[in-house]
């Protein structure tokens, strides 16, 4: 017997014993198709402006920094400003996300832009988030050519652009968005839920920022 059959047989001997196997199968099928929500904290269930305020407060609690712009065309200037403020070289890594591509980067003449996955040599990367989660100050990023996963982890500084209207109250809303975009039961290759910059408490349980991932996470919220 294969390891697979052997393991499943052992489990079935216990699980099936004394219960109706058809009912078990129905229960599993129903749960997988209905995806019951469970308990969603009241914390994030707020009107728009308060939800955004909670998102910002939570993100800052976890050491992310935040700025906001009126629309996408203001992003290049905001990014350049961030680089100058932190004495960073005037170059960024960016994916193919159309919303970012249309922002008009040529306005920042000195800014060098590299496209595609990071090779580990980038100081700063700019990504566009799928959504924000107010209850924990988290941003959700989906893999792909638009926003390569390496941009989330290799650079020293990670700048994430987020539309104000994409700030959800809770984690469950992310599943709704994913299902809408990819279909029920389908996922992007990687979904990264990022809450603040990388950190470690492994030496004497003192929390220090900048472990293996970015030392700084900066969020730019677009009002439009």
């Amino acid at each position: 017997m294969s390891a697979r059959d052997s393991i499943l047989t052992k489990i079935r001997q216990v699980n099936v014993a004394g219960s109706d196997d058809t009912a078990r199968k129905q229960a599993v099928a129903a749960r997988l198709s209905d995806s019951p929500r469970g308990i969603v904290p009241a914390r994030g269930q707020l009107p728009d402006s308060e939800r955004r305020a909670l998102f910002e407060a939570m993100a800052q609690k976890f050491a992310a920094t935040i700025s906001s712009v009126a629309d996408y065309s203001d992003i290049p200037r905001a990014v350049s400003g961030y680089l100058r403020e932190h004495n960073l070289p005037a170059d960024i890594r960016i994916g193919d996300d159309e919303r970012l591509a249309k922002a008009g980067w040529d306005k920042e003449r000195t800014l060098e832009i590299r496209h595609g996955a990071s090779d580990g040599g980038d100081m700063t990367a700019v990504s566009h988030a799928l959504a924000g989660i107010a209850e924990t100050g988290t941003v959700a990023l989906a893999s792909g050519t638009d926003n390569p996963t390496t941009l989330n982890f290799l650079p020293e500084h990670h700048i994430v652009v987020l539309k104000a209207s994409d700030i959800d109250g809770d984690l469950e809303s992310i599943w709704d968005r994913l299902r809408e975009k990819f279909g029920k039961g389908q996922m992007p290759r990687a979904l990264n839920l990022v809450t603040g910059p990388s950190r470690s408490g492994d030496i004497e349980q003192k929390i220090l920022l900048g472990a293996h991932g970015p030392r700084a996470l900066h969020l730019i919220i677009v009002d439009e």
């Binding site: 229960a27 809450t195 004497e204």
Partner: protein
């Protein structure tokens, strides 16, 4: 690692007089307990979420065969490969085969307790493949040739001076005069050293906090980002996970995630929670080209349907050990097993048999704090008691303890004799306790008094107090009735 749980007592004795360890263990309380409490208090739904998380896992375990099949189907659809492993040996061999096919000399590892359980590092090294731990704590203990002393804080038994010594010993390519006196400097150095390593290995191995039947995804929860670099930059991502990591849906992970970070580190959410589904897709600029899941049983299926089934709800947050007075006193290595603390005291006998691990379920005062903080409401003291019963039934309990129990049982079954003995014994002990009412040494109790005084009995016995309470209550009831 070699199981040395049968030497728990000797190992604990040594730990109690180890000044370095005792200093490091102070960080457990500072680092975890208050933070967990604050995070739990800040979420009004926390207790209700614990109930729901318990129910989710109970439902999953009752339908585990079906969810595993559904999960396997989804992984395969996404282009991943599921390998089933009945035991540690199978799992090790599968991982080695994957590494050999990838033609790699070195593998990177994200933090994973399951690969500790199957002794993967030693096996790979013995077969010519160098494993490199990338989590800071795991990296430190790998340099020292040690095993984790805590399931989420593997180097919690160390002080920064010890880490500095190890870095100076190993990182000989760096300037000798560099300042490593602060944890921040140590962290920067580890970051720099490991950064290069991420690009060297063709295979990256991680564990999983969840496997999701609905989508065929595996989930890792980390703070450092090392697990993500490990799995994103390698050509081949290997997930090693035991079968009880299964949950039905994305929604179910959200419920349990709200408990996990709060119970572990007191964060509302860990820095990085990553859902991985299959290998790189067409057009993807990054991510692994192969995605493998080694689905490991290693004794779990034998726990189903027994009094230890509830242990399979464990999400490895570490709250039980953080809050355990025994763990706080002796640290994790004294347990002599992969999993320390209360969860280890239940799980280790299940995985390795009670014969060599009987001291672990006895290493508890049954104070109940582990159960009080367990996010999955696992009745740890009850299960430790079951293991003590198994141990007693198998005559594994030491003779002195068995005779002691028999002697006590003799009196307990004869209440009049018991009360008579107590009526002489208590005043005598009370008088002997002197003005401080404590014993600094007692015959037959050296094991206790070596490390602390034994309080002398004072006042009335439990039974006397009970009778008095009952009499009072009756009085009150009679007055009310009147």
């Amino acid at each position: 690692m070699q199981l040395t749980s049968d030497r728990f007592k000797q190992q604990a004795q040594k730990a109690l007089v180890d000044a370095q360890l005792q200093r490091a263990l102070l960080n457990v309380e500072k680092g975890f307990i208050g933070k967990r409490q604050m995070a739990a208090d800040a979420l009004p739904e926390f207790e209700a979420l614990r109930d729901n998380a318990r129910d989710i896992k109970n439902h999953t375990l009752a339908h585990l065969d079906l969810y595993l099949e559904a999960y396997e189907k989804k992984v395969t659809e996404a282009g991943g490969i599921v390998h089933w492993a009945e035991n540690a040996e199978d799992a090790r061999r599968i991982v080695l085969d994957i590494c050999r096919k990838a033609g790699t000399k070195t593998v990177n590892k994200g933090k994973s307790m399951i690969t500790e359980e199957i002794d993967l590092n030693d096996y790979l090294a013995a077969n010519g493949i160098t494993p490199v731990e990338t989590d800071l704590g795991e990296y430190i203990i790998q340099l020292r040739g040690e095993h984790p002393s805590h399931i989420i804080a593997p180097a919690v038994h160390l002080n920064k001076e010890q880490v500095e010594g190890d870095f100076r010993r190993v990182h000989t390519h760096l300037a000798e005069a560099r300042d490593l006196s602060e944890p921040a400097a140590l962290l920067s150095e580890a970051r720099e050293v490991l950064r290069k390593q991420y690009f060297e290995a063709k295979v990256g191995i991680t564990g999983a906090n969840f496997l999701i039947a609905e989508t065929g995804s595996s989930v890792i929860v980390t703070n450092e980002g090392n697990g993500d670099l490990t799995q994103t930059l390698a050509d081949v991502h290997v997930v090693v996970a035991s079968i009880e990591k299964m949950v039905p849906t994305l929604e179910d992970t959200a419920q349990i995630l709200r408990l996990l970070a709060r119970s572990a580190t007191g964060q509302d959410m860990s820095c990085y929670t990553t859902y991985s589904t299959g290998p790189r897709r067409e057009g993807d600029p990054d991510g692994p080209k192969e995605y493998h899941v080694v689905l490991l049983d290693n004794g779990r299926s034998s726990m189903l349907g027994t009094e230890y089934q509830e242990m399979l709800r464990c999400i490895r947050c570490g709250a039980c050990m953080n809050h355990c007075p025994v763990y706080q006193s002796v640290g994790g290595h004294a347990y002599g097993s992969v999993y320390p603390g209360p969860m280890g005291a239940v799980l280790t006998p299940s995985l390795n048999g009670i014969e060599k691990t009987g001291q672990l379920p006895n290493a508890s005062t049954f104070c109940g704090r582990c159960e009080a903080v367990c996010p999955m409401r696992i009745p740890l003291p009850k299960m430790m008691r079951h293991w003590r019963e198994r141990e007693f039934e198998k005559h594994l309990t030491p003779a002195t303890a068995r005779y002691g129990l028999k002697l006590w049982a003799f009196f307990a079954k004869r209440p009049k004799l018991y009360r008579l003995a107590v009526s002489f014994g208590i005043p005598a002990l009370s008088a002997l306790g002197g003005t401080k009412h404590r014993f600094r040494a007692l015959p037959f109790a050296g094991g206790w008094t070596r490390h602390r005084d034994l309080p002398a009995p004072e006042g009335r016995t439990f039974q006397q107090q009970w009778q008095q309470r009952e009499a009072l209550k009756q009085n009150v009831d009679q007055k009310r009735a009147a």
